[in-house]
Symmetry: C2
Subunit: 492 residues, 2 copies
């Protein structure tokens, strides 16, 4: 039984959708736009969560939990945020169902159970959290306030895709309050840096750190930092954002603190988040026509061992060899599965673990027993070799590190090959159409030009890279002076 996966070169989008479902990561549910995250997909997300949560705690943050619902009126407080977020959302208007008197066995909304004020299912939690912080912050001694929440949020998206854009998704949202502007900006940058480190170290996914242009900024933010990654089809994906909110929310919710000198001042705020969208980014960065390719640091199963045998007696002999190895690997913190199911053939299992992206696969059959070897295959390059049993643990340890590094390097090379500098708009359009990827170009800094480019080509400014050189040039569209290049791409 093959994997029957559409090839990336044929239809990248179809390949992605099929892979998510066939690798048992997620599926659509009975609720429009909401997904079910299946155990294998959720196990990867749990590994992401654990790594991120550790990094948040190491940078001084604590977790808390705020309500799922936001009263409509709280959204009215911060105008821009309301414009950006309170619109396409799930609205709770009633608090009771009752038996439908006209249709036996059916339920209906109880018309007498209408809420006085509608509740919005949180699309993001700035409003409810800043309304709460008002009670928590009185003095400079209460600052900085460094809080994160892991939660589900809902945005009523019309066109949804598993992991990439769903009506409900899981995320974390950090919300911090500071005594000074400088501290808040430092925090915003720090957390964007944490995201970049996570993406590169754990997901093996190179990212570019930058800031958004005004039109791409978070609604209510003064500055939005982001990490941008490049997918294999040449489209960019925004993988995380970190916002410097200035005093906008503090003013909207009247959150002031007494300074050391006894003055009353509004606090300075940040918020930052990554979501289950990272799952989409992970899949599209590394996977191939045979299925998922997972970086060892995020793989729920790092090593799988498949026995090749005739008859249960031989399986017993193999099991005797394998079990001490399993034990030894587990003691080293390596997640290993010995797939001794007698209901499936080795070929079926090989396919399954290739599809599921297990980084290292061991096979052991009659000849290996005779020679004291394992066949060791790595998922990233599909290379196989025969390894003496005595060396297999060291080999596995080496491979888990090497695969992690190799995956990063491969993705990094691809990314570097797909950043093109252009000088003219003609060149820009040509590269965009023929090659895709990031295009580095001069832009005059106006919303109008940005809008024109988007309308002409569907490409947007992904970010102004933090490490962009200050080097004068001329806007490719208007010819006006520009102080640095920005990165354009079509994006998810």
């Amino acid at each position: 039984m093959g994997k029957n996966l559409t090839k990336r070169s044929e239809d990248y989008s179809k390949w992605y959708n099929e892979l998510v479902v066939k690798a048992n990561l997620a599926e659509n549910s009975a609720v429009r736009g909401c997904m079910v995250i299946k155990p294998y997909g959720f196990a990867i997300w749990e590994k992401m969560q654990a790594a991120l949560d550790k990094m948040f705690k190491e940078t001084g943050h604590e977790n808390a939990y705020f309500p799922l619902f936001v009263p409509k009126s709280l959204f009215e407080a911060e105008e821009k945020n309301a414009e950006g977020f309170a619109k396409e959302c799930a609205v709770v208007t009633h608090y009771r169902l009752q038996n439908d008197p006209d249709k036996p066995g059916k339920l209906r909304v109880d018309p007498n159970a209408k809420l006085e004020e509608e509740l919005v299912v949180r699309p993001t939690s700035e409003a409810i959290i800043w309304n709460t912080y008002k009670g928590w912050i009185q003095s400079y001694r209460d600052l900085p306030l460094l809080i994160n929440q892991w939660a589900n949020v809902v945005r009523w998206e019309m066109r949804t895709r598993l992991f990439l854009r769903t009506a409900e998704f899981l995320w974390q949202e950090g919300h911090t309050a500071h005594a000074t502007e400088a501290e808040a900006i430092e925090e915003t940058e720090r957390m964007n840096g944490v995201y970049a480190e996570f993406a590169e170290e754990h997901m093996a996914m190179p990212v570019i750190q930058g800031v958004k242009t005004e039109s791409e900024r978070f609604a209510g933010a003064v500055e939005t930092y982001c990490i941008e990654a490049l997918m294999q089809d040449g489209k960019a994906l925004q993988a995380g954002t970190s916002h410097f909110l200035g005093q906008n929310f503090a003013k909207a919710f009247d959150v002031k603190f007494a300074t050391k000198e006894g003055k009353q001042e509004h606090v300075w705020a940040t918020s930052w988040g990554v979501s289950t969208r990272l799952m989409g980014a992970l899949i599209m960065t590394h996977s191939d026509d045979n299925g998922l390719v997972l970086p060892p640091k995020l793989a729920p199963i790092q090593v799988v061992i498949v026995p090749i045998y005739k008859g249960l007696e031989q399986l017993d002999v193999i099991s005797e060899k394998v079990e001490p190895l399993v034990k030894e690997l587990r003691a080293k913190g390596i997640s290993v599965k010995f797939d001794n199911r007698d209901t499936h053939k080795p070929g079926f299992k090989f396919n399954e673990y290739e599809l599921k992206g297990v980084p290292v696969r061991l096979a052991i059959g009659q000849r290996d027993l005779e020679n004291g070897t394992y066949e060791v295959a790595r998922r990233d390059t599909l290379e196989k070799e025969t390894v003496p049993m005595d060396d297999v643990v060291a080999k596995i340890e080496f491979l888990l590190e090497d695969i992690q590094t190799n995956m990063y390097q491969k993705a990094h090379s691809f990314r570097e090959e797909n950043i093109t500098e252009v000088e003219t708009y003609e060149e820009f359009k040509k590269v965009l159409e023929e090659k895709g990827g990031f295009i580095s170009a001069h832009w005059d800094g106006t919303n109008e030009t940005e809008e024109k480019i988007k309308n002409d080509t569907k490409a947007t400014i992904r970010c102004i890279p933090l490490d962009a050189e200050n080097k004068e040039g001329k806007c490719m569209v208007t010819g006006k002076l520009s102080s640095k290049r920005v990165l354009f791409a079509k994006a998810y």
Copy 2:
């Protein structure tokens, strides 16, 4: 500054509410009935989650995530469950807000954005999950299906109390599918046992395992197992439930599997859950008039060290002594805080950590420096002693174990003293009024008698204990034959 906590003997309920807020565990939010779980409270909940999650995984379960929303029609599928759960709930009827044309700056529901079918915010997820399982289960090879989800749920409670009863709460819900009735019952019992073990080993809270009577059963269950704990005010608290669902949900959602023999059969189901209600149980089991008392296994800070000094120079000398100790304790996996804040006096700090239930407190001042000692205080008994610096690590390790054990034993003694066997209904009412606690009595097994007792006294049957002796007796109300005693109590 004292803690100004109401005494338990004065007003237990007020004591509880004050403690939850003053110890920074949780507070009410702007949304009726929904709480904010503050960082200190959430840190305890995270420890509970981690311990439970580990136990679930060790018993073969995997985590997944299902949608927040349940289409109304799915609730209609399982009649009893709909009766029990789909009624008092948050109902999403619209998917958009818009600027109110009549009130500038205000938002209103967009009347054109009405959902075709209302969505219920999950009060529990059997309906959406079983609707999904239909696609996952075809053959006996797909069974057992052992899945857990950590999620928020919403039930529109009219009278709410922090942690004990809130409109939104956090919980885990296990949902499993099995090939045989016996396996499903075994799973139901296993998970109730996991809950009991968690309560006793981690929360230091003794529980009684039992089954519910028909009238107290989960809506849609064939049998509901539970763990019941006793609070210090003599009221019982249901701390977790595990349900054997028979084939009710499989039939409602038409989930069948092919047996080894090729027959089509409906699968057998269980579900089981514990929630942030456990936080309420933890607080009410152990805490005292000085504040929280936390078992070491769940304490976010296990050891706090408070320096007593005059001038920052002396603080430096103390810090030099303390820092290697902090390092040594952390290396042993002990969570320790050195509170060297110069903005607060030692007395303030002592009060604060007593209020927050930190199990072990060390103090170190001038005399300790001279003598090479620490003052070591344990939170459970408030005992203090002077310990040579060389012995302090061993002392702390001893105390963390001893406090855990002592707290369990204290709660267990209290519980045992407050189980009273009665023979007559007069005696029952007298004990209930004067003493409270669990009352063990014979009952004729009918809903009518149970209902009468509840109406007369507000006491309910908490459970039929699993270890109840089969010993004939007469129902205390009707005098009819009864085969075993059941446990009554007033309950949270």
